[in-house]
């Protein structure tokens, strides 16, 4: 029999970026807010403090800040015909764990999508014809426009303290920024950081080819900064321990640096750690949630009543909890019915490495968001009809770290061990750079999430099953990027050059790290038949449950998702405050 706790106005599941944002804004509204975080508590000092944080093995290789698959994982298969097997140790993607979530160990790339990406299906149909969208594709419009979201991108950029350079300020194109971006109402709150050797060389080469390099918008501070909550960031020192690490320098935008100390001051806010929500409890009619059941730090089951439940866990866990709780109808790929679990998508990346015997790059001088970017081959710059695919990529170069276990780039053909390897690491460490493409990934009827029939988690709940594979549309897209990157790389005259882009027939491989940009599964849209959430991230079926995060993306954008996740959170909480709270009901 579960222990019952005092009812709260709001329960938030997960205390990462979106949980912190919702907590702050709903506390400011005067609501009594409880956040339940299944991982441990974390603060800059002591958890990220120097020098203990500068430990590649513990955090970079053994994933010290990540979710432990023993506590929570998924099973994976590439097709309906394969038997899904557990993702037993981390590789391809790294969900976060603990207070701050993945928002404390990310790299800080903070983009806004192209305006066209929010209406991707309509954009393709209107400009290139319906036939370009193949039968296997499941792409949709988001049910929201860039114009509607613009003030909330602005808000998130100010709270997170993003450093960058506007390229399109209210329609005026600005030198040095991204000329292809959608218009912004304000410049970034901080100027860009200085750039490393590789980033500058890439920008020079790109300019010579007529492209438009701009500094990567960065959740890594270029100077001392105070955000609208009075929270502070310090200037980055290019320590080279960014992604997978907590920032010891108060430089990386995170719930810790941007929100949590301000939130913890509020008397109407409480958070509990090591509190794993097992299920959202629904009222008998299934139209509202009554609260959640969670397992506390002592292993005791607790029923926590609440007037409102905010799912703010990682994308995979939000979808998992919805499937386990019976919120919305589970998606069935055979019939196309149901919405929970559909449109899972990932990210289509590739890259070219360039080796220069005589250039010293000092690769340990880096930060997670360093680099120059070109958007000359972005989604709104490509003639999909002519090229025969839907999608686009940004292309960039910069140094995030020079950690030797995980970032030892060597020319192809170098022995993997022995005397040849030992001499090669000396010869080539610090003498290479890379140009990468970071691209969209379309949604498909057969890429989806559901509950696994065999494997269970430590509470006896079915694991979630991921069915995902690469599709030829996206492979054509990434091969197109290869054809653009290689001439650019060649123009820089490297001694050695080698490319790595997915080829036709590529199968998803869970072993190498690719990206933690898992999206979809509980998508937003304008029709309850084809989406799980309305445009305010409210579940269609249970009106007092709102779901934050990248699970709302109907297909993946060509950019890193956090900027959009943050903007959507501010957009949704504004609707909750102004429209939902005065009259709780389905908002659409």
């Amino acid at each position: 029999m579960a222990r019952k706790e005092k009812k709260r106005d709001v329960v938030i599941v997960g205390l990462g970026w979106t949980g912190s944002i919702l907590g702050m804004e709903l506390c400011n509204e005067g609501l009594d807010v409880l956040a339940l975080e299944r991982g441990g508590d974390r603060d800059t000092v002591p958890d990220f403090q120097y020098p203990a944080i500068a430990d590649e093995l513990k955090y970079g290789v053994r994933y010290g800040f990540m979710q432990k698959p023993r506590n929570s994982t998924v099973t994976v298969r590439r097709s309906e015909s394969e038997t899904a097997l557990p993702y037993r140790h981390l590789g391809s993607f790294l969900p976060g764990d603990g207070v701050g979530g993945a928002g404390m160990h990310w790299n800080g790339h903070t983009f806004r999508p192209m305006a066209e990406e929010f209406q991707l299906k309509s954009y393709v149909e209107q400009n290139f014809g319906k036939d370009l969208i193949s039968d296997e594709m499941a792409i949709q419009d988001w049910g929201i426009s860039y114009q509607e979201l613009e003030p909330y991108f602005d808000r998130f950029e100010k709270v997170a303290g993003i450093a960058g350079q506007a390229g399109n300020l209210k329609g005026e194109i600005r030198e040095g920024g991204n000329p292809f971006e959608a218009p912004r109402s304000n410049d970034y709150p901080m100027p860009p950081l200085p750039q490393t050797v590789d980033s500058n060389k890439f920008a020079d080469a790109a300019r010579k080819m007529g492209y438009h390099p701009y500094p990567r918008p960065s959740g890594v501070a270029s100077k001392a900064y105070t955000n609208p909550y009075g929270m502070q960031l310090g200037p980055c020192n290019f320590c080279g321990f960014c992604e997978r690490f907590g920032c010891y320098q108060y430089s990386k935008s995170s719930p810790q640096t941007c929100i949590l100390d301000a939130l913890k001051r509020k008397e109407n806010f409480e958070y509990r750690t090591n509190a794993e929500v097992l299920k959202i409890e629904l009222a008998a009619d299934g139209k509202t949630a009554k609260g959640v059941t969670y397992m506390d730090a002592n292993g005791e089951e607790v029923y926590q009543p609440a007037d409102m439940v905010i799912l703010a866990a990682y994308q995979l866990h939000n979808v998992h909890l919805m499937l386990l709780s019976g919120i919305g109808q589970a998606y069935n790929p055979a019939t196309g019915d149901g919405v929970i679990g559909k449109n899972y998508a990932y990210q289509t990346n590739g890259g070219t490495a360039l080796f220069f015997k005589d250039i010293d790059f000092n690769p340990f001088v880096g930060n997670g968001s360093n680099g120059h970017v070109i958007d000359d081959f972005a989604i709104n710059r490509i003639d999909f009809g002519a090229e025969g695919f839907i999608g686009g990529s940004y292309i960039s170069s910069g140094t995030f770290n020079g950690q030797p276990i995980r970032s030892m780039r060597l020319p192809g053909g170098t022995p993997k061990w022995g005397a040849g390897w030992k001499s090669a690491i000396k010869e080539w460490y610090g003498h290479s750079m890379a140009i990468g493409s970071h691209g969209s990934n379309m949604s498909y009827h057969t890429n989806h999430l559901d509950l696994d029939p065999t494997y269970k988690d430590k509470y006896g709940r079915p694991l979630m099953r991921m069915t995902f594979n690469w599709k030829s549309n996206d492979i054509r897209m990434t091969q197109f990027m290869k054809s653009k990157i290689e001439p650019l790389a060649e123009s820089m005259n490297p001694d050695i050059m080698q490319s790595s882009f997915k080829k036709e027939g590529a199968m998803y491989d869970v072993r190498p790290y690719q990206t933690t940009h898992n999206v979809g599964g509980a998508i937003m849209g304008s029709d309850p038949k084809s989406s799980a959430l309305n445009k305010f991230l409210q579940t269609w079926d249970v009106h007092n449950v709102f779901v934050m995060g990248a699970n709302a993306f109907p297909q993946n954008i060509q950019y890193n998702p956090t900027g959009t996740v943050g903007a959507l959170a501010y957009w949704a909480v504004e609707a909750i405050r102004k429209d939902y709270l005065p009259n709780p009901r389905p908002l659409v």
Partner: protein, 232 residues
């Protein structure tokens, strides 16, 4: 010797003296920073049996040999690192999902599917490989000639030698990955003795502070520091 040359060499002498003073200060003054790692030959393995230890020493010595510039795996105390990792959470798969059913014939791209922990996989794999070596070369791995060892490792890497007892775990991949980890990880884990591997490639270790070096295209001259504060 001309006056000018004398001055130059005297200045150099003083600089060398300063470096010497600094380095000696690094060792003598920093009692806290002293490593408690015993020398490889004095080390008592916590996980490995004597036979397993002989294999690990012999195999890592081939994966990163001592010859040529830079430390070998044994100079770097890599076997100590691996032994400690296997008694720790890594070796015990403490963070991994280990529930069955396990499919040893799963596609490699679906990741680790063995029911064995890394520590168990090492134990099973070393025993089976030593048996293979005895059957095929008349002696356990550690007693083979260098060239034969390299040939065995190459066959293992390519999958020409299949180890059934690891139940799907790949001994070679584990060993190579752990060897490189031990070579480059902070010395507090037992390997990368005296930060020699960091010095070899020019990685400044745990310094983690380079604002004044951003965009500077010349070799960074200063040696590494480790987490304990020891200077290398």
């Amino acid at each position: 010797m001309s006056e000018e040359n004398f001055k130059l060499s005297r200045r150099r002498f003083l600089q060398a003296g300063a470096v010497g003073t600094m380095l000696s200060a690094g060792y003598s003054a920093s009692a806290i920073a002293q490593s408690d790692t015993p020398h490889l030959s004095d080390y008592q393995p916590e996980y490995f049996t004597a036979a397993e230890w002989d294999f690990i020493v012999a195999a890592t010595d081939r994966l990163i040999p001592a010859d040529g510039e830079g430390p070998g795996a044994l100079d770097a105390h890599v076997p100590i690192f691996i032994d400690r990792q296997l008694v720790g959470s890594f070796g015990q798969a403490a963070d991994w999902y280990m529930e069955g059913p396990h499919d040893p014939n799963a596609p490699a791209a679906l990741g680790y599917q063995s029911p064995l922990t890394p520590a168990e996989a090492y134990r099973a794999g070393i025993a089976e490989l030593n048996t293979w070596c005895k059957e095929n070369h008349g002696a356990v791995f550690a007693e083979l000639e260098k060239e034969t060892k390299d040939a065995v490792l190459t066959s293992l890497e390519k999958g020409d030698i299949e180890l059934a007892d690891t139940k799907g775990a790949n001994l070679f991949d584990l060993l190579l990955q752990n060897t490189k980890e031990g070579y480059f990880a902070d010395p507090m884990y037992g390997g990368n003795h005296e930060m020699a591997a960091w010095n070899h490639i020019g990685f400044p270790g745990a310094r983690a502070s380079f604002r004044e070096w951003v965009g500077i295209e010349k070799p960074y001259p200063l040696g590494p520091v480790d987490i304990s504060g020891k200077r290398g």
